[in-house]
Structure formats: structure tokens, C-alpha cells
Amino acid sequence: MFLINCPYCGERDQQEFKAGGEAHIERPKQPTELSDDEWAEYLFMRKNIKGVQFERWNHAHGCRKWFNMVRDTSNDEIKAIYKMGEKPPAQ
């Protein structure tokens, strides 16, 4: 059970949060101009790596804000948390 430092509320128990998949996948601005393959790349393809992963999380039972998390999936260490729209921290 993670202890997650919500950038708006501070440290809270994981059960207040919802995981939202891989971060930094931007919705294409002009979807109609994409080929099927390009659209499928946005729609379906997600990384599932053992190691450092960028994820979206939502404080669903709290402030309801979305934010980003850098997590090492091999040991669940949360390496960084930053707000939506902010640049990911340098590796």
C-alpha cells in the first residue's frame, strides 16, 4: 500500500487514489489526419516496463486532481511526483 504525496493535499494512503496508466501520451490534435496505424499507436500501445515508468494518478477520493508519478515498477519506489503540465524530472 503506497504512501502517495499528492501535490495538492500531501501524503495520503494509496486507497484514496486511482492509477491512470502511462503518462505523457498526448491526444493527437488532428485525429482525422492520422493513418489507422498512427491512431492505433495513440489508442492502444502502452509501455509495461520493469523499471522506471511514468504514470498518471488521480486523487479520486480526495481533491480529484490528476498528477504524474515516476515509479520504479521493480521495487515500487516512487521517485518523483509532479503536476499535470509540468515537465518530467530529468533522469
Partner: protein, 1001 residues
Amino acid sequence: MTKSLRVKSSEYIDETNRISFKFNGKTYHGFKGDTLASALLANNVHLVGRSFKYHRPRGIMTSGSEEPNAIVQVNPGTNRTEPNVRATEVEIYEGLEATSQNCWPSVEFDIGGINNFLSPFFPAGFYYKTFMWPASFWEKYEFFIRHSAGLGKSPTSNDPDIYDHRNIHCDVLVVGAGISGILAAKNAAKNNFKTLLVDEKNELGGSTIFENNEFNKIDNKTPSEWLKKEIEELKNIKNLEIKTRTSVAAYHQYNYLLARENLTDHLEAKDKTNKIRQRLLKIRAKKVILATGALERPLIFNNNDRPGIMLSSAIKKYSEFYGVACGSKNVFFTNNDSAYESALSLYNKGINVEAIIDIREESESKIVKKVKEAGIKVYWSHTIVDTAGYKRLNGISIMKLSNDGTSVTGSKISISCDCLGVAGGWTPAVHLYTQSGSKLKFDEEKQIFLPNQNTSGQISVGSCGGDFKIDEIIKNLNQKLKDNLNIKETDLDNIKVEIDQENSKRNIWLLPSDKPLGKTKPFVDYQNDATAKDIKLALREGFRSIEHVKRYTTTGMGTDQGKLGNMHALGIIADTAGVKMGELGTTTFRPPYTPLTFGTIVGRNVGKFFDIFRRTPINEWHVENKAEFENVGQWKRAWYYPINGETMHQAVQRESKAARESAGILDASTLGKIDIQGSDASEFLNRVYTNAWSKLAVGKCRYGLMLNEDGMVYDDGVTTRLGENHYIMTTTTGGAANVLGKLEDYLQTEWPELDVYLTSVTDHYATASLCGPNSKKILKKIIPDLDLSDENFPHMSFKEVHIGNIQCRIMRISFTGEHSYEINVQASYGKDLWEKCIEAGKEFNITPYGTETMHLLRAEKGFIIVGQDTDGTMTPIDLQMDWIVSKKKYDFIGKRSLYRSDTMREDRKQLVGLLTDDPNIVLEEGAQIVSELNQSPVEMLGHVTSSYFSPNLKKSIALAVVRGGKDMMGKKLFVPMENKNINVTVANPVFYDQKNERLNA
């Protein structure tokens, strides 16, 4: 007659407080402070259970939570009964009853004992290998296998006890109150850390509290005396909370631990009532100090499981702590010095110790010399090759061990004894440590797994960290505390320790016998009857991974999770396969460390608190009017309103006719409602719905379909424009929370530039949906001032009016195809509004209807229900709802996906109507649809999604999804059922009023 084996008064046993209890129907006596195990041993009862597979007689082996054999059913036949309880952990109280498990008719005479003689036929994987064929016989086999599976019996009536959960936040959590745990907790608390110390036992002090080895001294006192003084001092320390009878079950990431605090299990029945029995502590600690100690290992030799064979450390604890002698003729079998301490403990109390069998060549420690001086015979380089006695050990045979330890030589010596203490060394209790995600490393010299790579915020101290000698424990504990808690000085700086240094050990995982392995029974996992033979067989059959061998042989899979034998299993595998233990790794230690009751896990969330129910503001009226309810998500919705003993079918037929012929009323309060405001609200709706919203006039309503980005229908509902920058969106009942979440997600992450604010107002409004040709007249009676003409208040429009003083929003929208109004008022006025409608509708026979009638009425009109007629694979085109997909809009959620090659396939499943050739046959929802009956394999075209008998059309109607169904209008298909084939015809899904004339009727 049983003779008492009490040997001395112990300060932990209150001999003035005599307690009677029953075991297997017979009354025994013990004292306050006894466990069931110590009390039985004092009564010379060793035989307490039968093993799982072979039904071999088994006795008490340990004195703690690692006990594999002495697991009993407590208070059988009562509502407080509990199976698989370790007798070594049950504190006795007046009136306690316990019975043996896995035996019939009794533990003394057990029919299942025949399995012991049939054991050559029950090798590892017996069930997998035997019951494979013929496949069709499995059901017959299963009946018998299930019958013999399992150990104890679950209670059959409701648990009378109360359970509780508590959250605890602390700076330092210390797990285990042995010498290292006590010293760690004391020093943490003294340095202003808010500290919690927990221990599974009822007394603090671990094994040091009865450590009276005269060669070990702390500040010139015996360890036991010294520790008692330390414990006494704990009482005066602030910041320190101590919880005994509290077992940590799980250690999760980020120092989140679950512990079970046992509050009433040791009390008499009359004192248990109305008290919390067990409490689950949910602990979040900044630092965790693991001081979980070590478990003594047994030795693996032929017939090492007879009642009377125990861990050497357990014999010592029973003697020193409980004042009980486990036998009158004792022998010890060891590979290290600890058995000598146990032997001396008995000797000093005048209990006979016949001999010590030591597999080492010699040992020169002070304690060994002392034992020799006491005249106890020591057989060096010897091993036990067999034991005798069926229900109680009565003798052992020993032989000389060869130099390499793989065989025996010389002649056999028989020794008569009734109790054998085995000492195979110590295994650090690293279970919680690994649960936390930390990694172990095998120490080849000590032959133990030790903590290696910690996750942050934890320390292992004492023997669970690999320090076994008191001087090492104190020195390393001191350093770890200073390093991890940033403490400058501790109490431990000036402690003077003297110890008996020698501690040689000879490790042989599987001891040889004079018989070949195939003719012996060296048990590795006592509870599951897995022997060294089974493990070797698994290896011969090709299993290599320790996880596979474990599952195949069931080693370590009992309620004790192999706390005693797992290391030997690993050792035997490593030796046999010729690999190093460190490379082999360990099996995964999973929570809970000791079993938890379901009560503890669920806490207060039982009965009506098991799951939360949401009820509408009109609920009370539904209850008063005898509605039947159905669960929709967390909501309790009125399902139908039976009168005069009607069946559901009869009630629904009546309600459906009334709604179309005169007037019906539905509680629609559960529909999700999202208030949308902001200057970009229209643009936002354009992006989330498939149709266009910019031109919707203020005061008008529009139906919208929401897709996922993959183009599949996600939700639907009517949205009303309340003002220039103000909309109210309705969602499906079950989808409300998810839709809000999805809209918030897009607003926050993809379109943060939009000026839009979302508020869930589902619970703020109550909604009555008034429908039918007389609905207009009823509403007129309630609001005489409102002009209800089609010109002023047309279909798909909205009015904000007052009924008396109550402000209300009325939408003229319809989910039934009838002229209808949805009246929304502030939730607290909901029942009042409803009753007004009922009162005004009396003269029109207004009929309240529930969700079932609502479903029927909308099905007559071919309106979909998202989640019933769709399943996450249906696009609007599949639903024949092309009309709602804007061609002009540049983009909306899911638009691009509607032009993927897959979503444009002609042969996708599409929504159609189905009519049965026999109008009286109602199809089953979920039934499969085919076009050919004699095809093999038959091609499934689709399935029925909604099906009803329509009282208004006087025939059966159904909605279905059928592959390529759009082009099948009029085609004959079949619905094959178990006993018959039903002929159906594909039809228009709008069955009733295809021209929508009734909306303005």
C-alpha cells in the same frame, strides 16, 4: 490416569488459579498462564492430532506460532468455534473445549490411519496423476476428494463477536518483544520517537526471559534477570505503546503493516460478550524495526514425526517458562550447542536426561563440558536412524555417522525414551522482511538466509538479522539504532556482556538411515506429510524451480506455511540437484504470517454495513407501498410494485399497460446528474458527445451519446441547456461516477484551456418521471399556472417553475415514448413532490412503476440501455444510431475510431429487433442466435440482449445483436435452447409507435 508433570512453580503460571478445560471430551486441569499445549503436556498428553495425508499420530512440536502439528478445533459445535488453531497459542480459560482434527472416529483410533500403510501408493502428485482419466469421472472422484480435503470444520452459524479496525501512525514500530525488540523500543521512545512495540505472545521477553544459562551474563546478571529489570522500566517511558497478543500479519510497501490484536480469545465465554474480539491494526510507521527472532529447525531423519518428538527449544520453554516436563526419559538430538542448554535446564530440575546424540565430532564449549560433568552421556558423530512408538515415542535407534555424513556405519544402539528434543540450528524469521520487498542473501557459513538489501525505513535486529549471541545482538543493535534513528547515545553503550563463545555447527539437511531412503519416512513438512522422498521424486520427475517443487509436493503449503521445514526442503533440493542454496532462492513468504479470521479482515463491514446502499429521497414511499427492490450499482431501486400477491410478470404487465393507457410514475432520482458551467461549456459538450451542441437553444434538451476514444458507446443521457453557459447533464445510473471521472480527466489533462466546471449533483435532486397520455392533465393540476401547450412547452424542452414554494426543473423528455415530464426538485422535497403527483393522479389511476416496467416500455420503443444492449464493443453505427453521429464536427471523443478498418466492417454485430414466430414465447436474455441448425460447429451470430412480453403489443419482443444484422431485416433465424429451437424473424428494433405520434398525444 494421567500424572502431572509440573516440575516447579513458574512465575508465569498462577498455581492458585486452577482451570479446567476439555480436550477430546475429557476434562483436564491446568493453571492460569498455561497454553492448551503446556496444559496438555503437564497432563502427559502428547497425541493431539493426525496428519493430513497419512493420518499419522502427531504431537505438540513447538511452543509457538510455528506449530505444524498441534492444530485443534476450538469450542466445537458452538458459534465461536474456530478450526486450525495452534494449541501452542491458545491460552486456557475455564470452560475451554478443544478437539483434534482430521481423525475419525477419534484421535486414538482413526480409520484414516490406513493411509499410513498405503503410503507407498500416495507419492507426490498422487491426485494429479491418478484422477486424470477417464475425464468424465472427475465429478465422481471430486466427491470423495472433497470429502477428505481440509482439516478443521468451519462454523455454521453467525459469528457472535465484534471485530474492529484501527489506524495507527507511529514514528517507530518494533515487531517482536524479545531482548532486541525491547531494547530497540526503549531507546527509540526515550529519544522522543512515538513508538509502538508489538508481540504475538501475552508476555514480553521472547526466549531471553527464560534464559538462565549460567555462562551468559549481562551486567553480571543472568539474561533473564537482566531483561526483567529492563521490562519493568518500560512502564515509565512516555511515547511508548505496547501491544501484546498482537501478531503482525503483513508487511506491505511504504511501511504499511497489518497486525491482529487479540483481545478476548483468552477470556471465559461470559467475559467475551459485547467486547471486541480482535482488532486489525493498520499501521503506517516511519521506521520499522524487525525483531522477529529466529525459529529453531528440526532435523530430518527417519520417522521424525512421532508424538514426543519436539524442538529442543520448546522443551526448554515448557520446563523454564511453564514449569512442565515434556517427558520423564528425555533424549536430545542435535547439530549444535543449543540442545545442551535444554538438557541442562531439565537436569537442573531433576528431570532425567538419558543421552544427547550429536552429529558433530565434538564441541569444547563450557556448556558441553558442564553437561558431561553432569554425567549425561553424549554420542558424538551419531545419528538417529529410526524411532519407535506409534502414538507416543518409546525409543530411538542410533548409529555412527560416516565422515561425509551421507551414510551410517557400525552397530545399532537402541535407547529407550519418551521425549526427544531435536535441535537443528536456528532460522532467522525473515518472513515479514521479505514481504516488504526486501531481498535476502544466503550465508554459506551459517547456512541461513539473511537480510541483504533493505527497502528504506526498516532495520532487522537480533536473531532475525543474523545475530544470535547476546554480545553481538547488543553491539549491532546499538549501532543500527544510532545509524537509522540518528541517536547519539543509547542505554546500550555501557552494557557489559560475558558469553560462552563456542558455537560450532554441522549442517546435514537429510540425515541418513541404515535403510534406503525409499523405505524411510523423513518428514520435511509435518502438516502436509511431505517427506524428503517426495522432494527427491519431484526432482527426478524434472521439477527444478523451488516454486514448482513446493506446489507439486505441497511442502510449505499448510496453515503453518512450512515455518519449520522449508529450509530443509531447500537444502535437500540444493544437495540433490548439485546447486548452491543461494542460487536456488527461497519460496515467496506471503501474508498473513499466521492465519487471520475473516472477522478480523472485514471488521465492522458486516451485515448492512457490508456494502453501502444508496436510497432515493422517495425510498420510504416505495417501502410503504410494498415495492420489490433491485440493486443498480449501489442504489436500491424500486423494481415493481406487486398488489394482491401478483407475480413480477403480472405486476409488470399491469404497470406497463397503465403507463401507456393513462399515467405512470417512476422514481428516476438515481440517474447521474452533472452540473456543467463555464464559457466553454458548449464547446466541451461538442467534444464529449457525438452530436452537435453549439446551436442548442437555452431551455432545450438534447439526447447525447458518449463514446470512448476507441469509438465504443460509453454512456448516454439527456442534457439540458439551463443558460448561456450552464448545462445539466444526465448519465446512466451506474455510469455516473465514471462519466464524471472521465470528463474531469479530459478537462484536467487534455483540454486545460477550456473554461468549464463540473459538479456532481446526483444526490441533490429527486426526480419523478410522469408519463402517459394523462400526464399533462396531472401536471396541470399540480402547476395550474404553467402553460403546457406544445407551443409553449414542446417535447425536448425545459421549464423552471414553482410548485407551491418548491422550486422545480421540469424537462419534457421521454424514455417510454409517451408524453412525459421529468420533474426535479431539491432532494429533501422529493417525497413531497411524489405524493403530490400520486394525489393529483388518483383520478387517472396513476400507477407507480419500477425499473422492470421502465425497461419493458423503452424496449417497445427500441431505446437502448447502455450496459444491457451494449457491452463495450458496440459503436453508434452498430446500434443503428448513425443519426446521432455528427458528420460536420471536426473531432469528438472516439470519432477517429469510427473510421478504423475494424469498426467499419460490415459484418460487425449490430442491434436489431427480434420477433418470435410464436408470439407467446419470450426469449431468454443472453440466448445465442444461429442461422443454421445442422451446422457443426455451429456459427454463433449473436445473442439476445433484451426480451419481454409486451402487453401493449400482445406479443413477445426482443432486442439482439446479430452479426451483419442490419442487412437481415425479415430474415428467419433460430434461437436454439436446451429442449427446443425457437424460430425468430429479424425486425425493426422500434416495435411500438414507429412514427413517434404518442409523444405529443
